[in-house]
Amino acid sequence: MRKTSAYALAILTVLALIFFVVTQQADDFSVASFKPYQSLIASAIGNTILVSMVALLGSLILGFIFYLFSISKVKYLNAITDVFTEIIYGTPLLVLVVITAFLIGPAFGTYNRNLMGYIALIIYMTPYMKNVYQSGFSSISRDQYMTMDLFGFTPYQRYRYIIIPQVVRILMPPMMNNLSMIIKGSALLNVLSYNELYYAIRVAQSQTFRFVEGYVLMWILYLMITIPLSQAAKIIERKWAL
């Protein structure tokens, strides 16, 4: 119980801070002027979640391929993984988004900017996902595989009882970091005029000119997406792990 009340107090502290910041702004603070934009903002939240999920899945797959490349015996594949990883690590996401949509896309004859935005996010996350796999699979020692052979585990039993419980515990926290990185990063797609949350609020602001309210609303809505997700991940972690 003491832990709960400690959390309640912490949340109250932050709320008080937010309240203070808000009251220091425009004297007639009211988000009511954003009401007509409900459906626009709702579809933008949908798009933010959609692009995040697509980028998560895409980078999970591409990251796995890159993990396989990095452990492959073909030297060229190892090299390309390394070069690619270095380049992505050195590139800010905003730069990558702009270059993918305005230079790489047109070079390949596609002007589908939203698609290129999705691809930029996937590419950006791929090396991070590769690392997640790397740390996950390296945690299962050779001894454990030998023991599993010894007891004659079926593949299903191996994964269900030995590998996944260990890997999940290791994978979940960095995976969650990556997901919230994606969600936060998706705000940058506003430079492509993709209708995600940041963009929708800016459109509404351009018509209402209630900038302060818009930014506060935007902040709260992002938290409403990211916090439940990180909480859900914690639950999954506890349930699946050992």
């Binding site: 425009a26 004297d27 007509p36 934009y37 459906s39 626009l40 579809s43 073909v74 060229y76 594949l77 702009v98 305005f102 230079l103 047109p106 390949f108 004859g109 596609t110 002007y111 900017r113 506003n190 430079v191 492509l192 005029s193 209708n195 800016r202 459109v203 602001q205 351009s206 018509q207 209402t208 000119f209 209630r210 900038f211 302060v212 818009g214 930014y215």
Partner: protein
């Protein structure tokens, strides 16, 4: 090595397949839908505004279908250069710098560039809404804020002023309202809207720096489209032409927001 070849072949195949550019009759018009009432969206995110109406009218004039490509203002010129859009009808001022990288049609509007001024700053320096441009320029140490890539930063810079660059209208208006900057130059609509949202902390100075000519921009060397668009622009003035149609449709909104009708934009 075999694998390497397979991968290379695949790669080249992908490049070849995807490089078939769509060649169609669609006129792709770029604009940034965040500047009402010229370029904006309705509540279901469909393009709407005076520039949108002009775009569709141009399409009709040329007998081409129109696609509005919503593009952040700073990315419009790159999008023209990469061929993503055919023409920008984006309330874009014709400036020397831009003429070096794109071609413009003749002006179809003139945007008077007026100022949004921080109220405390105005009181300190004795400014009122009837003050002149010279009054504003005479104040030493006035902090100008402008939006990168727009005339709101290039005009004060041309007078040798230091300009704080904001990335969008929101942060620019906020900084004037909060007093981290003193003067923002913009066309009349955003200035008046910004004032209406912050009536106690800001002031509009109506004397205009310039009547900035607004043209449509196309890729450098695309004289065919420029000529066609110029012919279209000449037709706007006719009785029953597009100016009249636009005035009938938009004057109620313009008068309510700005206190001035479309004439304010048509005449230099």
């Amino acid at each position: 090595m075999k694998k390497v070849f397979t991968i290379f072949t695949l790669f080249i195949l992908i490049i070849l397949l995807s490089s078939c550019k769509p060649n169609d009759n669609v006129l792709r018009v770029g604009m940034d839908l965040k500047y009402p009432p010229f370029e904006t969206v309705d509540l279901s995110n469909n393009p709407e505004g005076i520039s949108v109406d002009i775009a569709y009218a141009l399409g009709e004039y040329l007998g081409r279908e129109v696609e509005i490509v919503n593009t952040d203002f700073g990315s419009i010129i790159p999008a023209i250069q990469s061929g993503e859009i055919d023409i920008a009808i984006a309330s874009m001022s014709i400036t020397e710098e831009r003429l070096e990288v794109v071609d413009f049609t003749n002006p179809y509007f003139y945007f008077k560039i007026i100022s949004l001024v921080n109220q405390d700053f105005a009181t300190e320096n004795g400014l009122t809404s009837d003050s002149t441009v010279d009054d504003l320029l005479a104040i030493d140490g006035a902090r100008f804020v402008g939006i990168a890539s727009q005339v709101s930063s290039s005009i004060p810079e041309s007078y040798g002023k230091n300009v704080i660059q904001a990335t969008d209208l929101g942060t620019a208006v906020e900084s004037v309202s909060q007093g981290t900057a003193d003067i923002l130059l913009m066309s009349a609509n955003p200035v008046v809207d910004g004032y209406k949202a912050n009536p106690t902390t800001t002031l509009v100075v109506w004397d205009s720096f310039v009547a900035s000519p607004i043209g449509m921009a196309v890729k450098k060397g695309n004289s065919e489209l420029v000529n066609q668009a110029n012919q279209f622009i000449e037709s706007l003035n006719q009785t029953g032409g597009l100016y009249e149609i636009l005035a009938n449709k938009w004057n109620p909104i313009l008068l309510e927001n700005l206190g001035k009708g479309l004439d304010f934009y048509i005449n230099a």
